[in-house]
């Protein structure tokens, strides 16, 4: 039956076995779409395993440029028998199933409301290749070729990509092209193009395609970080690896070939943050990158950094918790653990990047903030941003920008006789001056400690002295409000009496959900929170709207808790929309929840 094709707006999901070489083929497919000028939003859904377990790759082809997950699958590339039933069940009604038809499948394995496209991939491979590894790897390329033909893509984009990937290794280029062509030819001879079509467009522009971890690492380079101490943990490992790569590239002394950086793989997360605190104490910009379990281990040092006022930066690439939780799935569930990390009364600035572009800018900014505020600054990525490539605007840097080292008294300052009290609030903003060790032969030295002390850094257990210091730390936190990136208001087209607050990796799906809700006649103003402590604008936004939804990817409404606790908001004023199954939140989920909560009046009931 002839159907009008759907152009540039559908979801392809690849179901594979981990370790089968599918990741690079699937990535190739996504890049091929982008080279045709059509934006993609691609996400890896992978197991905590190296070989053998199921893994998925979801590519959303979206001329409109929706970079969040939509939800649902239009074309399933089912390459994993283990997950066949679940994969088939996930296809939208009227959707398509692509499978390896080498072995005949019983009719009961399919669904009546979907179309099935079989390509005998294994048979083709076995005929063409002798080496088992080649059979496996080229099978992936053959299905990319088949998809290319089925979806009306230009094979030339893949030729270019092979040429870039294998740079001059002609044998590899030819072998991949041959495999691709095998898939293309099979479809042209035996099948019809699908009514899902990729059509050349010009919607990608000069955007770049990059993972958040890589972007954050590059941000750390531009932010002047010189010391990185880390311990491997999914999903943060690639951040340290990318920092290493970029430092080798950008921070090698051109004359001596020596390193203008020091990267240590520590024995654990405690040592990692210990080294960061030591380097920060000594005037170098230092960071570690980790995930939830690492945050738990680091808490004692975070408290020391807070109380002794030592700059540190922690990139927390959040994964599913608690405990080992879901190590390869995404969540925004470390907010409270980070914001109030450590025993005693503590609070720490957090940054919430929404995509890799902000991972770069906030990755650099975090070091200025840490030096300015003399405390630990957390950059709260998550697995979805950190380990998936996102299409974002090119990185930008202002050539005139200088690193803000904060309040440091130099040799000259000390020599001039300026009074130095390490914990003295000279400027009324709660931020004291510090000295680097070794600054001056007779002035400026002090004993840094996690115990209570007076403004001149001398040990004191006097109640009044302690309280003064704790109050100053609160003033400092108040100062932080003006330094954290301000929330971004997204006004509805019409007058909206309801609002929604969101942050981080939910933002792309949220933007799309807002548009979908508006189309249904539900107007909402959006406020994207970009950091903690919250600006007054967050509380003004809540006051200005009748109903306020808070969208987050955790079970316990952690952002809501922070907003309520820090601003004295009546909890009933805020309605949570929570998604925490470990997959990235979708536009459909958010729009559906908000529409349902509004329609059923559950929101009013809460008020």
């Amino acid at each position: 039956m002839p159907v009008t094709p759907r152009y540039n707006d559908f979801v392809v999901k690849f179901a594979n076995v981990n370790g089968s070489g599918s990741a690079s083929a699937n990535g190739l497919f996504a890049k091929g779409v982008m080279r045709m000028g059509v934006p993609v939003a691609a996400r890896n859904i992978f197991p905590s395993n190296i070989q053998g377990l199921p893994t998925w790759y979801e590519v959303r082809i979206t001329e409109e440029g929706h970079l969040g997950r939509r939800g649902g699958v239009d074309l399933m590339v089912a390459m994993n028998p283990q997950t066949w039933d679940k994969d088939v069940a996930e296809i939208e009604s009227g959707g398509f199933l692509f499978y390896d038809s080498t072995k005949p499948m019983p009719a009961s394995a399919f669904r009546e409301d979907i179309s099935v496209i079989g390509v005998p991939l294994t048979a083709m491979c076995n005929a063409a290749y002798q080496v088992p590894r080649e059979r496996q790897l080229f099978k992936n390329i053959i299905y990319v070729g088949a998809l290319c033909a089925l979806l009306g893509m230009e094979p030339e984009v893949f030729e270019t990509l092979f040429a870039e990937q294998f740079k001059g290794r002609q044998r590899l280029i030819d072998a991949n092209l041959a495999a691709l062509q095998m898939g293309v030819d099979y479809v042209r001879e035996h099948l019809e193009p699908l009514p899902l079509q990729v059509r050349r467009a010009d919607r990608v522009g000069d955007r770049i395609y990059v993972e958040g971890n890589e972007a954050a690492a590059l941000g750390a380079v531009y932010g002047g970080a010189t010391v990185c101490a880390w311990y491997p943990i999914t999903p943060s490992t690639s951040l340290a690896e990318a920092f290493t790569k970029y430092c080798q590239q950008l921070r090698t002394d051109p004359e001596t070939g020596k390193a203008r950086y020091a990267i240590v793989q520590a024995e654990d997360e405690i040592a990692s943050i210990g080294m960061v605190v030591g380097a920060g104490w000594n005037g170098a910009r230092a960071f570690t990158c980790t995930s939830g379990p690492g945050i738990s281990l680091m808490t004692e040092f975070v408290g020391l950094s807070y109380f002794a006022e030592i700059p540190a930066v922690i990139f927390d690439v959040q994964r599913g918790g608690p405990s080992t939780g879901m190590p390869t799935r995404t969540q925004q569930a470390d907010l409270l653990a980070a914001a109030y990390s450590s025993h005693g009364d503590t609070k720490h600035p957090l940054l919430f990047p929404a995509d890799p572009g902000e991972c770069f800018t906030m990755g650099a900014l975090a070091f200025d903030l840490a030096d300015r505020l003399q405390t630990t600054v957390f950059v709260m990525l998550d697995l979805d941003i950190g380990m998936n490539e996102w299409l974002v605007e090119p990185f930008q840097w202002d050539e005139k920008r200088q690193l803000d080292r904060g309040k440091v008294m130099t040799y000259e300052d000390l020599e001039s006789g300026r009074d130095f009290g390490r914990y003295l609030d000279v400027d009324g903003d709660g931020i004291p001056y510090r000295t680097y060790p070794g600054a001056h032969p007779t002035r400026g030295a002090y004993f840094t400690r996690g115990t209570s002390r007076n403004p001149y850094a001398r040990y004191s257990e006097e109640g009044a002295v302690y309280v003064d210091n704790m109050q100053r730390l609160l003033r400092k936190f108040e100062t932080a409000k003006s330094l954290i990136p301000a929330p971004i208001l997204k006004k509805a087209k019409g007058k909206a009496k309801d609002g929604v607050i969101y942050f981080g990796s939910s933002s792309a799906a949220m933007d799309e959900a807002l548009a979908a809700l508006a189309a249904q006649g539900l107007q909402l103003d959006g406020l994207r929170v970009r950091g903690f402590p919250f600006a007054d604008a967050v509380y003004d936004f809540i006051a200005a709207h009748e109903r306020v939804f808070v969208v987050e990817q955790n079970r316990d409404a952690q952002l809501k808790t922070l907003i309520v606790t820090e601003g004295g908001v009546d909890p009933a004023r805020l309605t949570s929309v929570l998604h925490y199954d470990g997959t990235p939140i979708t536009a459909r989920f958010i729009a559906g929840e908000i529409a349902m909560l509004t329609a059923t009046g559950q929101v009013e009931a809460a008020e």
Partner: protein, 351 residues
């Protein structure tokens, strides 16, 4: 109380070193430890060593963990920056500090609880990384600040003040440090200043991980009969393998020692370690031999002291990482921030 500063006044005729500093210029606040504590003797030895080495006090960074020993950096080198970190984690903080500025001299002071129990892992890893530091453990075999619990260096069978016998095996930090690749390993006794001061001087001059286990009796909780870390026990069972002089480049020292075999070891910084051998068979440049010697002495119930091992050609963590000579904390913005053109090239690769 540790906030009591010592009066600055001193006798006008106090001798000075070539920098014009008196020994008093290397002191810190008044100690709050118990009278007679071995740790105070170690602080005095550190002051003496730095005075004699003629190091400007602000060029030293002193770091510690938590416990009686870790309080002591407040009591020496008052013009040095100090950092009293968290329990058992001084090694990582010192490592980070060292990475940030390779030009300062790093002195880590710790205790047996701090380094052999809670911080055993960090102790091990800082040593095996070859962090350029002097790491002193003030080893009294007991938790003093929490009033007398056994520590991980308490000998099996030793008796606590309350009469409890320790069942667990002791960790010998010296043997461990040798196995981990420390390039300077010594043991001394807080009551033996003549031995301890030169050892500290030699360790401060050493490039690489220098470890000194200093037995330091706890007068309150571990100085009774039955303790193997008491003054009496250590004096009776101390077997010194050598006596050491440290000769720094410019000075010519006439050594007044009883004749015996002497070997000289030149360190990276041109200091000469002149070792007067007391035990004939002992070679302080033989790591394997040192371990064997220690084990056999231990089996006899003897505590070996002196410079047990030194590798004068040692490399440190910075050598391994290939870092620039300029301290990382002194690099300029232009050396750190790659700039707009580099970013444009990166953007191009990511399309």
């Amino acid at each position: 109380m540790t906030y009591i500063l010592k009066p600055q006044l001193h006798h006008p005729k106090l001798p000075t070193n070539s920098l014009g500093y008196t020994r008093r210029d290397y002191e810190g606040s008044v100690s709050t430890l118990c009278a007679g504590c071995g740790h105070d003797s170690i602080s005095a030895a550190i002051i003496q060593a730095v005075y004699e080495l003629e190091i400007l006090p602000h060029r030293i960074a002193k770091l510690s963990g938590i416990g009686c020993s870790s309080k002591t950096p407040d009591y020496f080198l008052g013009a040095s920056h100090g950092f009293n970190t968290v329990h058992g984690r001084m090694p990582s903080v010192l490592t980070g500090a060292n990475l940030a500025n390779r030009e300062l001299i790093y002195l880590g002071v710790s205790g047996d609880g701090d380094s052999a129990s809670i911080g055993f892992g960090q102790f091990a890893h800082a040593i095996r990384r070859g962090v350029n530091m002097t790491y002193i453990v003030e080893n009294n075999g007991v938790y003093g600040l929490t009033k007398g619990q056994f520590s991980a260096t308490s000998d099996k069978g030793s008796k606590s003040k309350r009469g409890v016998v320790n069942h667990d095996s002791a960790i010998d930090l010296v043997s461990i440090a040798l196995q981990l690749g420390a390039t300077f390993v010594a043991r001394s006794f807080s009551g033996d200043k003549a031995q301890l001061v030169p050892l500290i001087k030699a360790a401060l001059s050493h490039k690489g991980a220098a470890f000194i286990d200093t037995i330091s009796p706890c007068v309150q909780f571990n100085n009774h009969a039955g303790s193997t870390k008491s003054y009496d026990f250590v004096r009776e069972h101390n077997e010194a393998v050598n006596r050491l002089d440290v000769i720094v480049g410019r000075e010519a020292i006439d050594v007044d020692y009883a004749p015996g075999e002497t070997i000289e070891v030149a360190q990276h910084d041109a200091s000469i370690l002149r070792l007067h051998k007391l035990a004939d068979s002992y070679d302080p440049t033989d790591r394997v031999g040192a371990i064997a010697y220690l084990q056999s002495a231990q089996a006899r119930g003897e505590i070996v002291t002196g410079l047990l091992y030194v590798d004068p050609e040692a490399e440190d963590l910075h050598d391994g990482l290939g870092t620039v000579e300029t301290p990382l904390n002194a690099l300029s913005d232009s050396e750190l921030v790659p700039g707009v053109e580099a970013l444009a090239r990166i953007n191009a690769v990511l399309r």
